[in-house]
């Protein structure tokens, strides 16, 4: 072994890749896709009395064209709806809403899901880039703590 390093992800992606990461992360945590729309505002579909918590994904940028600017994707689980969108600065943001839930519970649900989205983004990007660079994934497993472990080999010239 020659080096061990920790890398912090920077999330830069187009809307299709972002929504794919949301779908994969949401499914892994038991969420159902509520809608993928271009007109609905965050939290619009839920009851007026519902609480809402707004979060954003740090170090993120969702690249989109003029047509994709207002796109949103909403997922729900047990009365909690999380709507992902691109904010005015281009960052990935999410609005978590739910009836009868505390702000802390909504925030925790949003953070758990947004972290899973970042993990899925990193996984998909790594797999795609490694494949194109001739790396072979020889082992892959999901650990109990939901971390993903990959063993990769590469022959160098």
């Amino acid at each position: 072994m020659s080096a061990v390093c920790i890398l912090t992800p920077v999330v830069i992606m187009a809307w299709p890749a972002f929504s794919a990461a949301v779908v994969a992360a949401a499914s892994s945590l038991g969420y159902q896709i509520a809608s993928e729309v271009s007109s609905q505002r965050p939290g619009e579909a839920v009851h007026k009395d519902a609480k809402a918590v707004q979060l954003e994904i740090e170090r993120s940028e969702v690249v989109t064209n003029q047509l994709g600017r207002d796109q949103r994707i909403a997922v729900s689980r047990e009365g909690v709806t999380v709507t992902f969108s691109r904010d005015a600065r281009g960052k990935a943001s999410l609005c978590v809403t739910g009836n009868g839930q505390s702000d802390e519970a909504l925030r925790a649900a949003g953070e758990e899901l947004s972290q899973a989205v970042v993990q899925q983004y990193v996984y998909q990007k790594l797999m795609g880039e490694m494949r194109s660079r001739g790396f072979n994934v020889v082992e892959e497993e999901v650990n109990e703590d939901r971390s993903i472990r990959l063993k990769v080999r590469h022959w160098e010239n």
């Binding site: 020659s2 390093c5 890398l7 970042v118 983004y121 990193v122 160098e156």
Partner: protein, 66 residues
């Protein structure tokens, strides 16, 4: 052609821990750089003992023909 091995753990927050194996010397830094470009920012890096071993060398012999 040497084989390089990488052990990658993507944590549940998306943070990546990368173990680079099979390199001697600073060759591993180039490999780390690839993953840095793919993932994002380097948070920490620690070299192990093999890092300080001499780099692998490839020797070419060129015979001159008369």
């Amino acid at each position: 052609m040497p084989q390089r091995e990488f052990e990658i753990t993507i944590g549940k927050t998306g943070e990546v821990e990368l173990h680079v194996k099979g390199f001697k010397g600073k060759g591993c830094l180039a490999a780390v750089k690839i993953f840095e470009e793919i993932v994002g920012e380097m948070k920490s890096q620690q070299q192990t003992s093999e890092f300080y071993e001499p780099e692998e060398q490839v020797q070419y012999r060129i015979d001159q023909r008369h």
